[in-house]
Symmetry: C2
Subunit: 438 residues, 2 copies
């Protein structure tokens, strides 16, 4: 027979079971936390009409899209979860309750050149809060609280949620009449860590920013200190621009509420340098970094936008959202051996029958399952050693062997596979379940 080499498309993730278990636990923690804050689940299709999905897209994004025809239909695979959300909210506007709080965890597709740690098919885990006409600024403080809870549940303590407001940057540029140069200015000041202060000034001069404006920009990006000190220094810049003032007020409110949500000072900071792309966000923006692994980049980002769905509906729908790129995050954490979830096996216990008549082992397995114990029974005829090896490879924490002796004495040994210790118990599902649950 002609055989095809079994292989997987570069840029897609396919894990061995033990890694898949870890990945699923991370996903579950994220989903549980989203639910803990009362976000509603959505599951929009991966396959969408190109006309609808690409109503807004253009440039880089469009090039990366998996787009194709089937019959007469022009189709695309979704490239994020935000455009499908916009479509969904516009389509179902009359049937939704606002503020509409939804989470979606699903795969998205981007035809990137595959390279280590870059994915073409990957999970995004998004939450968004969408207002009908307006959305109070306090919502911008609830999302950091969600991020904080997720990071803690994932086992991290040393992380920092960086918070900024785009209106501050925009207002600054407006006050200097440099709005149309803002993209270039941001690009240049973004390099300060790499090229240093002097080079930044030189580059700003090159694009003909006036001396007093360069001073102002440098003054701005050199603002440091604690979050409160930064807010105070911003105030002291005395910038007479309405956008700037609104942005500063919003940022102050968000920081006030972030504290109210109980996020420790160690885990958030005002960071005037983050901007999160240039078009989309219009107010609060977030990025999240692991203090000891900044090279990972932001593991959870997002922000506030003015209008979610203007390409589909004549309603003003402001929103705020965050997104976790789970596939990349898992890949990186796994590589660094930073995954701190504990459960390594699906089965809590493996029952190994060593006798002809399987009725007792099967009955015990059924009863343990009724007690909510994940119970596997080894159903192939192998030597005892092979069966133990199986339990070991699957990292199943407990094993029970049932042979003729166990039936006769009506007792079993519950073997802890980690310590090797055995505990003699009555052959009774309630008693065994009690020990396994303890």
């Amino acid at each position: 027979m002609n055989r095809t080499e079994p292989r997987t498309l570069a840029g897609t993730m396919e894990l061995l079971p033990n890694e898949q278990i870890l990945m699923n636990q991370m996903k579950q923690i994220i989903e549980n936390t989203y639910q803990k804050f009362g976000f509603l689940p959505l599951d929009t299709p991966i396959l969408e009409l190109s006309e609808v999905l690409l109503a807004k897209a253009g440039g880089e994004t469009e090039k990366q899209i998996y787009r194709f025809s089937k019959g007469d239909t022009d189709l695309s695979l979704r490239f994020d979860l935000t455009v499908p959300l916009a479509k969904y909210v516009a389509k179902n506007y009359g049937n939704l309750s606002f503020p509409f709080r939804r989470y979606q965890i699903g795969k998205v597709y981007r035809g990137e050149k595959p390279q280590k740690g870059r994915f073409r098919e990957f999970y995004q885990c998004d939450i968004d809060i969408i207002g009908d006409g307006e959305l109070d600024i306090i919502n911008d403080a609830e999302l950091p609280s969600v991020i904080y809870t997720i990071m803690k549940e994932l086992g991290f303590d040393k992380f920092s949620i960086h918070i900024n407001n785009r209106k501050i940057l925009n207002g600054l540029f407006e006050s200097m009449n440099q709005k149309e140069n803002s993209t270039d200015i941001l690009r240049i000041i973004d390099k300060i860590d790499k090229i240093g202060k002097e080079a930044v000034i030189t580059e700003l001069e090159k694009i003909k920013i006036e001396k007093n404006n360069i001073e102002r920009i440098m003054q701005f990006i050199e603002i440091d200190g604690t979050s409160d000190e930064k807010l105070e220094k911003l105030e002291n810049l005395n910038i007479e621009n309405q956008t700037f003032k609104i942005g500063l007020k919003e940022l102050k409110d968000v920081i006030k509420y972030v504290r109210m949500f109980g996020i420790p000072e160690n885990n958030f900071t005002v960071d005037l340098t983050i901007a999160r792309g240039l078009d989309y966000y219009t107010g609060t923006v977030y990025e999240t970094f692991l203090d000891e692994y900044k090279e990972l980049g932001s593991v959870c980002s997002g922000g506030r936008y003015e209008n979610l769905a203007e390409y589909y509906i004549d309603k003003k729908l402001p929103g705020v959202g965050i997104s976790i790129g789970l596939t990349r995050l898992f890949y990186k954490l796994n590589e660094l051996e930073l995954i701190k979830t504990e459960k390594k096996s699906i089965s809590d216990v493996l029952i190994i029958p060593m006798l002809e008549d399987l009725s007792v082992p099967i009955k015990l397995a059924t009863q343990l399952r009724q007690e909510k114990i994940n119970t596997e029974i080894y159903l192939n005829d192998k030597k005892l050693k092979a069966k133990f090896k199986y339990a070991d490879k699957l990292q199943i924490p407990y094993v029970i062997v049932i042979g003729e002796d166990e039936i006769k004495t009506n007792t079993v040994n519950l073997k802890d596979m980690k310590t090797g210790k055995e505990r003699n118990l009555e052959l009774n599902s309630a008693e065994i379940a009690k020990v396994l649950k303890s």
Copy 2:
């Protein structure tokens, strides 16, 4: 602005949040049950190389596949979860423990003509047990036990798992030297419920089946009674064919073990008429019907196959598996209002602040979340009535209003939204959590 009509591709499912909650609960029940039996999770890519995915495919299936190119790469969306499993097991053969028991719940794609209840993007929920070289027949009895548990967990009592063995049919046809006509014969006898016995005989005559063979076929398909009676009547046919005899022995063993797994007689039956397609399955086959809604067709089907991955690897890998077409099942059950899961809301409680300073309501929400209560806090400035309407529409079961009075008295009213009853409690998260959990 030019607006695009927000719409969804026909044949994909996009639900409103309240329906999505029900759908997710069904999915969760299926996943939990798969785990209860110790199946390992897999999550293979949706996007695969066409050469790999279509190594085996042909005919009808291939026409339905979403296949396209991106750059030089010929890609396809998976059309089931079995081919990806075959690829996976072949690819990772050396790293897996056998019997390899995996579950996968994921979307698959078929470019069908869209019609009511037919989907192009839909969830399949599969489990398979793959042996290395051999796989004991008792595994064929464990899967009905999984089906039984799922159906019970979904709230159904009146259902029946139909079990047959393909070797019995194949052996029967072999014994009549009609192996090459088996497809036609099966197609004809499949119509007996519609066209009646006489018409079946006429059609069999048309394709030139000899009289004594027609008699034998009719004798076979008229076998009735309890499962044990059917098995006895099969025995009494005295068919001297090795395949038939093996099939009968296997079916008897499966029925014996199915009883051992504790499946009540009402919930399974020997059904000699099911064949599950013609090529793939080689032994035990299953279908599952709701007794009162047979028109739904089989809600969970599967069977035994000789060799999972021969297109990819030179190893004999026999397996047995089942699949639930969740999207279609949900659609049909929802239409018939047969979904029996209870939880209709993600949030367990909504906190409604009616005061300026939000620190107390926010603190309570944070503490309740730490007590594993899904807690939403209404963060927009609306009238009380609008906030209650929101809780009502989202079917959130409990509401707590916190205003100045509540702060002063340090008590709150916990309102049961179903009964309208209010219960006065201390403003203390532990106490409130206790009541909510009870």
